[in-house]
């Protein structure tokens, strides 16, 4: 379980990193926390010729509020985000979901930028960012652009990143009064990738649901929203009947993949159970 030979460069600034990325093209890979990349290299599933280590790039790990958005640098570690008061206040869904991500040592190294660039469909954060209508800030040596989270994830382990591009920051709209959030998940072991995970964001005004967002993990595509189910919820009182109906709808709307640990039928069942719980919890928190 040793990786094949590779070259290693360690840029000291963002322009240097982008330069290196431009120079090495498809043969280069960014090394962030290494918690997905290095195991894949050790299993010889990927064989990059050059590793571009961005861990010494200054300013990439910030967590701050900018206007109406929470801004998270690509290199912010899972552990930092899990423990961040800003995240808890402004993006409680992320805080809730992070409790399910990996184990201590993995969270100490793994980064949010690496996590979403890796785009594992079982990963929590793509679903969280999709539900929150986050945007992903992306740069290359030539240009920078912003991609809505929903469009960033194009398939399992596939993103909208073009050759030479990297994620630099993630922007999440700040949580608003009247909003409630909850993440529910089933994994075989604590810290494993989700068999199924459901993230819910609801806004309640005057006893009625005015906005609902549901992101699911563990399905065929990372960062999937359940828009049909969301629509059903708007206008309801989020009472038990509405939640049960929505949970059943969610069960039908998801496009589950069959994984080693859970088949599609089981995942649908999990989604129904988890969605009902997450909706009830989010509703209670919205009050």
């Amino acid at each position: 379980m040793k990786p094949p030979p590779f070259e290693y460069v360690r840029p000291g600034s963002l322009p240097e990193a982008l330069d290196a990325l431009a120079r090495h093209g498809a043969t280069g890979r960014i090394l962030a926390g290494g918690q997905s990349l290095v195991p894949m290299m050790n299993l010889r599933l990927v064989k990059p010729a050059v590793l571009i280590d961005i861990n010494r790039v200054p300013g990439l790990a910030e967590i701050r509020v900018d206007g109406g958005e929470l801004v998270i640098g690509a290199l912010a570690r899972h552990a930092a985000l899990l423990g961040s008061a800003l995240v808890r206040k402004h993006c409680p869904l992320m805080a809730d979901a992070y409790r399910w991500v990996g184990h201590g040592p993995i969270r100490n190294r793994g980064t949010l930028g690496g996590n979403i660039s890796h785009a594992d469909p079982a990963s929590e954060m793509p679903a969280v960012l999709a539900a929150c209508d986050a945007t992903i800030g992306v740069r290359s040596a030539k240009q920078s652009r912003t991609i809505p989270a929903a469009g960033f994830f194009t398939g399992a382990l596939a993103t909208a990143l073009a050759e030479g591009e990297m994620v630099t920051e993630i922007r999440v709209p700040l949580a608003q009064p009247g909003q409630g959030a909850a993440w529910e998940e089933a994994a075989n072991r604590k810290g494993d990738f989700a068999m199924a995970g459901v993230g819910v964001l609801v806004t309640v005004a005057g006893g009625k649901c005015t906005h609902a967002a549901i992101g699911v993990a563990g399905m065929a595509k990372p960062g999937t929203r359940l828009s049909a189910t969301e629509k059903r919820l708007v206008g309801t009182a989020l009472d038990a009947a509405a939640i049960a109906a929505a949970a059943r709808a969610a069960r039908e709307e998801v496009r589950p993949s069959t994984s080693y640990h859970a088949d599609a039928t089981y995942k649908r069942e999990l989604v129904e159970t988890l969605a009902a719980r997450a909706l009830a919890a989010a509703r209670d928190r919205a009050r």
Binding site: M1, K2, P3, P4, P5, L43, R44, E184, E185, A186, A187, N188, R189, K190, G191, D192, Y260, H261, T265, Y266, E269, L270, T273, L274, R277
Partner: protein, 832 residues
């Protein structure tokens, strides 16, 4: 073929008289006290010295190319590109290795031939196909990728029942015969047919126990060096059995034991996975000799998962339990098909082990077992915790529950009814083993009391009312004490028993150096339990010295005596007696020397606080070091004569029980307790379980292991021809700390079950029934998991019953494993 054995009645005095060296007593200063483990400082500071830490001059590193096919003929191997890679010293294929090294060691008779690298054919995903020696492990793995292998796929056999009828190319070892049955034989103990004729009800069940295995933190490895001048091998190994069967590695390499020295390293986790480790030693030795430089071969996780030697039993049972309507068990009849995988290294040893406690704690009068050992395209079975007997416990408990179901009896009541009663000991079970003593009803009552069953029944009713699946499982398990190899290999062969009675000794060497430090040499490696702490406590107690004055070392095979090593929970039990024996000899001599120095009668001397002093005269004493120094450097001042000559070494053998006068029948082992127990002062080594720092971790481990095997592994172990099995195994979920199933548990040591005294008025046996109660939480292992909603089954009533049954099965598995947490655990209740 059927062999029938008459029920054996032990002659009077069958159980030999006590060989107890010290009567049990209370008030020990060191034994049984909670002391900090001697082993810990070097482990906690990262200085354990594992195989991976060994570095020899000019040492190279090996990596192995493994098969991605489950069953295929090797048509061609091209190693040219690998050999051409810079930094590569040697590339070896199976065909080449076979010209240098013979088959790997085998305990099956007749054997299934296996080589350290596959020859002509691969039989499971992960089997070693070629090996590379290079300047680093990195380069070695790069070279492995450059080896081209052309395979011709053969039919893959994964289903044990289907394996019984395989023909043609689906036969794994055609040279052994035209099928995949490695061994098939029926054993009958007692009047089975008569007992079945008396039955009111015959309870029938088909039971499946899937494969599982150990996952040691440290994988198996070896650093081997070969000196062409002397023709000698030196190997650093993490084998637990080095002083027992290490010489067999020499046999594979074609050298006598005198040209093979195995040096033990710290062993990082075993539970069977480190017993022998012969494949790594044989391979590393072969490579070192061929490459002309020392070679380190250390399995990585993929090597370990796909080609380990610690897969446990993989059994399909068809059982019939003959009962009276009132629940009395009469006879047990079963067929067991055991899937041994591609090779057969330990033969059917796991069933010999099963047979020595085949009726568990129950009075079942007769037993018939049809054993079918089959070979399939899976990694072979090896040794894994319980070595097959835990499966028998589980089978018995499933059958007990099935009987309770069918007879509409309370499962506890049914068990209570069938327990062997205290006044029935010594009790000979149908397969010939003798249970020497016990008080099972008392254990069960105590377990029930601690578990507070009524409370749990209430909780169960509440939970079920909420639609949650909650079950309560009860298991009463009997776990025999230390083994002798007899019980494993007695079923070998087809005509005659493979072995007659054997001994499996444990040895120690004890000496005092001129500074008064007491050195104890063990024939085992340090495998993670507390052998040093245990030995230190006993020696400190014997000599009344501070534990810091005791030094425990581990013998290599050139200096060590024959020792079996850790396995089957036997080491402490065995070695404690040997240490006491050796200590007594050395102590005697020490007192004689001191008596001479102090011109005092030996009878007036005593050991106290690191000194030898005159009884009743405080201050009249000499430090132990002074006496030792005198004995070493002023020997000429001592009188001539044997009194002052000897060194003490001591080997403790399990004395084979008296010979079976039924004659010629296999000896599925006698209970060995009567012998070993008497060497151990009460509390020696194991101590009071409540006190000991090293007991609770092991207890927690027991149910966790039951938990770990619970996903139906049968589904998962299937290797696929496309190699998918290879990757899938890497996805197997090893339960981690957070998945611990047991929320709380209780261990009790119960009063001595045998109140009889021997001639000297001492208790006959220093042994205890112990029990472990595990409350196993299940859905709770993940607090926020969909409660009670198990896979696809929660909707319907049928589904719920299914889940419940599974829950009970799991609880029994936990309990069966939990009972192993202590060698003498007797009853366990799993509550889920």
């Amino acid at each position: 073929m059927t062999a029938t054995f008459p029920k054996h009645i032990p002659p009077e005095g069958y159980i030999p008289p006590s060989r107890q060296q010290e009567p049990p007593r209370e008030g020990y200063k060191y034994i049984g006290q909670n002391m900090k483990r001697v082993e810990d400082p070097r482990l906690l500071t990262g200085n354990g010295q594992y195989v991976g830490d060994i570095v020899l001059p000019k040492m190279a590193h090996a990596a192995v190319l493994r098969s991605d096919r489950a069953h295929a003929r090797i048509k061609r191997i091209d190693t040219a590109k690998a050999k051409a890679l810079a930094g590569v010293y040697l590339v070896l294929t199976g065909a080449e290795a076979k010209t240098m090294t013979g088959p790997t060691a085998q305990f099956a008779s007749p054997p299934v031939v296996q080589y350290c690298l596959a020859v002509e054919r691969v039989r499971h995903v992960g089997e070693a196909v070629a090996a590379v020696v290079a300047e680093s492990r990195y380069v070695a793995e790069d070279a492995c990728e450059l080896i081209e292998v052309e395979y011709e796929d053969l039919p893959v056999v994964v289903d044990p029942e289907a394996a019984m009828t395989s023909t043609g190319d689906a036969v794994l070892h055609p040279e052994r015969g035209p099928n995949n049955i490695a061994q098939q034989r029926t054993f009958r103990f007692g009047p089975v047919d008569e007992d079945f004729a008396k039955a009111d009800v015959v309870v029938k069940r088909t039971l499946r126990w899937g494969r599982s295995g150990a996952q040691p933190l440290e994988t198996v490895g070896c650093v081997a060096a070969y000196e062409p001048g002397s023709g000698k091998f030196t190997m650093y190994t993490n084998s637990s059995f080095l002083n027992y069967v290490g010489w067999l590695v020499g046999a594979s390499l074609g050298v006598p034991a005198s040209k093979l020295n195995l040096i033990p390293c710290m062993t990082g986790g075993s539970f069977g996975s480190k017993l022998f480790t012969h494949k790594a030693m044989t391979l590393a030795g072969t490579l070192a000799r061929a490459a002309g430089r020392p070679v380190k071969y250390l399995e990585d996780r993929i090597d370990s998962i796909t080609s380990c030697d610690n897969h446990g039993s993989d059994r399909l049972y068809r059982c019939e339990l003959a009962c009276k309507r009132d629940g009395t068990m009469l006879s047990l009849r079963f067929q067991v098909i055991d899937d041994y995988g591609a090779y057969f290294q330990f033969g059917v040893g796991t069933h010999g082990n099963s047979l020595c406690q085949i009726v568990g704690p129950y009075r079942i009068n007769s037993v018939q077992m049809e054993l079918v050992a089959v070979l399939t395209n899976k990694c072979q079975q090896g040794a894994y915790r319980g070595f097959g007997s835990e499966v028998t416990n589980w089978m018995l408990e499933r059958m007990a529950d099935a009987a309770a179901d069918e007879l509409a009896l309370d499962p506890v009541e049914l068990r209570r009814k069938n327990l062997i009663q205290p006044d029935q000991f010594p009790y000979v079970i149908p397969s010939g083993n003798i249970y020497d003593s016990g008080n099972y009803p008392a254990v069960l009552e105590e377990a029930l009391r601690i578990a507070d069953l009524p409370q749990w029944k209430k909780l169960r009713a509440e939970a079920r009312a909420q639609g949650r699946c909650v079950g309560i499982g009860v298991a009463t398990c009997q776990e025999r004490s230390v083994f002798s190899a007899t019980e494993f290999w007695s079923l070998n062969g087809t005509e005659n028993p493979g072995f007659t009675l054997t001994s499996s000794p444990e040895s120690t060497q004890l000496r005092i150096d001129p500074t008064g430090t007491i050195h104890v040499t063990l024939g085992s490696p340090c495998w993670g339990n507390s052998p040093e702490t245990m030995a230190t406590q006993i020696v400190a107690e014997q000599f009344q010295v501070d534990p810091s004055q005791v030094n425990v070392v581990y013998a290599d095979t050139q200096s060590g005596f024959n020792s079996t090593g850790p396995g089957g929970s036997r080491f402490t039990v065995m070695i404690a007696g040997a240490i006491v024996g050796a200590a007594k000899r050395v102590k005697d001599k020490l007192l004689r020397v001191a008596g001479h120095m102090m011109e005092t009668d030996v009878a007036d001397l005593e050991l106290r606080d690191g000194k030898i002093g005159v009884k009743g005269v405080p201050g009249k004493e000499k430090p132990l070091g002074e006496v030792a120094l005198f004995a070493h450097y002023f020997r000429l001042n001592l009188p001539e004569g044997d009194d002052f000559r000897e060194r003490a070494r001591r080997e403790l053998r399990v004395r084979p029980p008296a010979h079976d006068d039924a004659g010629g029948r296999p000896q599925p082992s006698r209970d060995l307790l009567p012998d070993h127990g008497q060497h151990v002062p009460r509390g020696a080594g194991r101590g009071r379980p409540e006190d000991r720092q090293d007991v609770h971790p092991r207890l927690r481990c027991g149910p966790r292991r039951g938990h770990g095997r619970e996903p139906d592994d049968a589904r998962r172990a299937h290797p696929r021809r496309d190699g998918a099995g290879h990757r899938h195994r890497a996805l197997r979920e090893v339960p981690l700390r957070r998945e611990r199933p047991a929320r709380d548990r209780d261990v009790r040591r119960l009063p001595d079950p045998d109140a009889r005294r021997d001639a000297a008025g001492d208790p006959r046996r220093a042994r205890r029934d112990a029990l472990a109660v595990h409350r196993v939480r299940h859905q709770g292992r993940r607090r926020r998991r969909p409660d009670g909603r198990a896979r696809s089954a929660h909707a319907s009533g049928r589904g719920r019953a299914l889940v419940l049954r599974r829950a009970l099965r799991r609880a029994a598995a936990h309990a069966a494993q939990g009972a192993r947490a202590r060698a003498r655990g007797r009853a366990a209740i799993g509550v889920r």
